[in-house]
């Protein structure tokens, strides 16, 4: 028996140690979310879906706001599937947020999708789709390596951690939470991706509708963060056709944001009203250059609001 157990132990040590080593190699190239569950608790957060994840660069904003808000912002935005406003996202935010005594701000990006849900039962939090996804499942959002994420939510084989580290030149989740993606920016490729998105979101119009319950959770999120710092609401820019789809989803969205702005006394910046000529990879997600510009402009707006 002792021989058996010792052989099993010896046999297991090397492979398990190697696996652990490989986990430590993940640097944001193999998975678009993992690094966000590895970093320590954060003092200030940027929230929203993939538009914010790719479109707001915390390091740029942090450099500019350092004098007023010394707490570094961290991009804790995911995707429209994973992080619409609801109980799962709010709980995860609470887990990720560190205590902090100094002055800090929070950026909450909003759009009609993040306050909509399944058209058949939009106001039942028990049926929110993200309940089955990782934000709801992960109980430890600051552990390196995060075994919970790897074993339960990492959809690819682990060899991809090494492979992607070597070959992935297209996407990377940075240490500040910004998800950088590049790729073919040829006009036809961009157009084709945009048409795909338009089809996809047109299809979503049949499946999703405004959810009063999610809107309540957006208010709970603001309420929770407002007691800890200054909150800014931001609507990310997007291509005109996709903006039209969003307006069809929730024609009253602007009014709702006006209501929130007034109720909580927060500033609301809608980048679709600006004159800037934003560039997108697919009509929805901004190019790296546009993301840099937006981050600078957003910093300026926040600075101006302080004066």
């Amino acid at each position: 028996m002792i021989k058996f157990i010792s052989r099993i132990f010896l046999f297991s040590v090397f492979p398990i140690a190697s696996l652990f080593g490989v986990f430590l190699l993940e640097n944001g190239t193999a998975d678009p979310f993992y690094q966000r569950f590895v970093t320590p608790k954060q003092e200030a957060l940027i929230l929203g879906n993939s538009k914010a994840a790719q479109g707001i660069i915390p390091s740029i904003i942090n450099d500019r706001l350092a004098d007023i808000y010394p707490a570094n912002l961290y991009n804790y935005s995911f995707t429209v599937y994973n992080s619409p406003f609801g109980p799962a996202y709010l709980e995860s935010i609470k887990m990720k947020l560190a205590d902090y005594d100094g002055k800090r701000c929070f950026i909450i990006t909003v759009d009609p999708w993040s306050i909509s849900s399944d058209i058949n039962d939009p106001n039942n939090p028990e049926k929110f789709e993200e309940n089955k996804l990782f934000l709801s499942g992960i109980k430890n959002v600051s552990s390196k390596p995060n075994l919970e994420y790897f074993f339960l939510w990492f959809d690819n084989p682990f060899y991809e951690i090494i492979l992607m580290r070597m070959i992935n030149q297209v996407s990377k989740l940075h240490s500040d939470g910004w998800y950088e993606t590049s790729g073919n920016m040829n006009e036809n490729a961009v157009k084709s991706r945009r048409l795909f998105m338009i089809d996809l979101y047109t299809d979503f119009l049949k499946k999703y509708s405004y959810s009063a319950e999610r809107f309540k959770y957006l208010q709970k999120t603001i309420d929770f963060l407002q007691t800890r710092g200054k909150v800014f609401l931001v609507r990310m820019p997007l291509h005109q056709n996709l903006l039209t789809i969003e307006q069809n989803l929730d024609p009253d969205f602007g009014l709702r944001m006006g209501f929130l702005s007034q109720k909580f006394g927060v500033q609301y910046f809608d980048f679709n009203n600006s004159e800037m000529n934003w560039e997108f990879k697919d009509g929805l997600h901004m190019t790296v250059e546009s993301a840099k510009n937006l981050s600078k402009i957003l910093s300026n707006k926040i600075l101006l609001s302080e004066n």
Binding site: M1, K3, F4, I8, F11, S12, F14, P15, I16, S18, L19, V22, G137, F150, F151, L152, W153, F154, D155, N156, P157, F158, Y159
Partner: protein
């Protein structure tokens, strides 16, 4: 609890160590520990359904004892040359307890698995006939493993009725036999004559047994986590988008599903048999490289052996088997395969799957090809590749009906394969890494076709250790670990 879960990775070593270091002294303590561990294993999924297993155990334990008393009385009556009426009375008593066991077990199965199916099907039939049925269905959860443990306990009472085995008075051994956690939720479906007897004698640990068990567990995890779950990542989107997929993609989806379900289920069986070995038990082999079969009859001697032999012994032979006219034999073949299809799930797709296999099996029977292969031989030669390939294609075709959600979907899938062969196919769905892994798997299966696994063939050779490390490396680095990858046969 799933075998491929972190919970089980913690559960297994703890139970193993407690079993051999704390509860090994007496037979009753070994059995008690197995029973409690098995109940914990099952309750991890839903503790409320433990009541069903316990109820099934109680009923069959009691029926078994009563059957034995009736058998004894019959024997005494015969020996004393009593009036035939006395014998008839005792036989009726015997039948009563068997009937009770059948009604209870099949009733459980019928209610939890088929209630809504029969209500829906009856309503559909009435609609076709022009009626407007006003009906409701119940929200019934299908208890995991119910089809497996009810069949296992049924075999116990039927075997006593037939006089093949004697009932046990050891209640702890019987309850442990019914709930034995390695094979509780997805088999192999063990007969009392084989497994229950092992609960009646104290188990001793042997290094060889433990080592063979670990080999099976290792290879089982490889099949499940590396082969089946990687195939699932390709198969699921193809079956979900069958309307837009090209013919070649649909064929690819079917072939990969065949590999997925084999990896999934035979992987589970290997792990179950391996875990049982760690605790000193021998379970029957459930798969013997079925995709190297040369015809459908041979396929069914190699695929899900514990179920196919169960149906053979408790349904096909009692129906008459091949005795009587050919028409009777063909009828029996269809009955067995249709019921086998329904056993897999309450859906017409499974019925059609059964009908397809029955038709293929009946053809083999009618052309007398059933017995012309050496049943026990595993030495399949490469010269037999055309027969193997044809059998594989036929099995794959039937899998479409098994995998599809509805008959409409299955039909549309088949039509798509035929009508859209020239649409551009996206081969990037199968990564180069997966192609290499599948080729290696095919090679390993071929090499190990005459053994339990290919790893067993390396026994005693120095390079077995690199082979173990390699297999474990594949599991850790090329496996899919996300939570959603449950075992397909859990739903049955």
């Amino acid at each position: 609890m799933l075998f491929n879960s972190i919970d089980f990775l913690i559960f297994l070593p703890i139970t193993f160590l407690l079993y051999w270091f704390v509860f090994q002294k007496k037979l009753w303590s070994q059995n008690l520990f197995i029973l409690l561990s098995s109940y914990v294993f099952y309750a991890w999924w839903d503790w409320r359904f433990l009541a069903l297993i316990i109820a099934s155990s109680v009923v069959d334990y009691w029926c078994g004892l009563k059957l034995a008393v009736s058998t004894k009385k019959s024997a005494v009556a015969s020996a004393n040359r009593l009036l035939p009426t006395a014998c008839v009375k005792h036989f009726q008593g015997k039948s009563l307890y068997l009937t009770l066991s059948l009604i209870f077990n099949l009733g459980l199965l019928g209610f939890f698995k088929y209630f809504n199916f029969f209500i829906d099907s009856t309503a559909d039939m009435l609609l076709i006939l022009g009626f407007q049925p006003n009906y409701g269905t119940l929200s019934i959860i299908l208890p995991v493993g119910i089809s497996f443990y009810t069949f296992q306990t049924l075999s116990y009472t039927i075997d006593i009725f037939k006089g093949k085995i004697k009932p046990t008075r050891n209640i702890l051994a019987f309850f442990s036999y019914v709930a034995f956690f390695p094979q509780l939720v997805a088999g192999p479906i063990e007969r009392a004559g084989s497994l229950l007897t092992q609960f009646l004698r104290k188990r001793q640990f042997s290094y060889e047994n433990g080592s063979a068990g670990m080999q099976l567990i290792l290879w089982g995890f490889f099949k499940k986590i590396v082969i089946a779950d990687n195939c699932a990542l390709v198969v699921n989107p193809i079956f979900e988008n069958y309307q837009t997929a090209s013919g070649v993609e649909l064929i690819m989806g079917t072939v990969l599903f065949a590999i997925q379900i084999y990896g999934d289920f035979s992987g589970y069986s290997d792990i179950a048999i391996g875990v049982a070995k760690l605790f000193g038990f021998e379970l029957m082999s459930n798969f013997k490289t079925p995709y190297f079969s040369r015809n459908i009859a041979e396929f069914w001697r190699r695929w899900h052996i514990s179920l196919s032999t169960w149906f053979r012994d408790y349904l096909y032979f009692p129906l008459g088997g091949t005795k009587g006219t050919k028409l009777n034999a063909v009828r029996n073949i269809f009955i067995v395969f249709i019921i086998s299809g329904l056993w897999h799930g309450a859906n017409w797709t499974f019925v059609i799957w059964g009908v397809l296999h029955a038709a293929l099996y009946a053809l083999i029977f009618l052309f007398r090809k059933n017995r012309n292969l050496n049943k026990t031989s595993n030495h399949i030669s490469i010269k037999e590749a055309p027969q193997i390939l044809l059998t594989f294609i036929l099995v794959c075709f039937a899998w479409i009906f098994f995998r599809a959600e509805s008959l409409f979907e299955a039909w549309a899938y088949v039509v798509g394969m035929i009508l859209n062969p020239f649409l551009p196919a996206n081969f990037s769905w199968i990564s180069y890494e997966l192609r290499i892994i599948l080729l290696l798997f095919l090679l390993a299966e071929w090499v190990g076709r005459a053994h339990t696994t290919w790893l067993e063939r390396l026994e005693g050779k120095w390079y077995r250790f690199p082979a173990y490390f390699g297999t474990l490396g594949f599991i850790l680095f090329a496996g899919v670990f996300s939570e959603s990858q449950t075992f397909i046969y859990f739903q049955f």
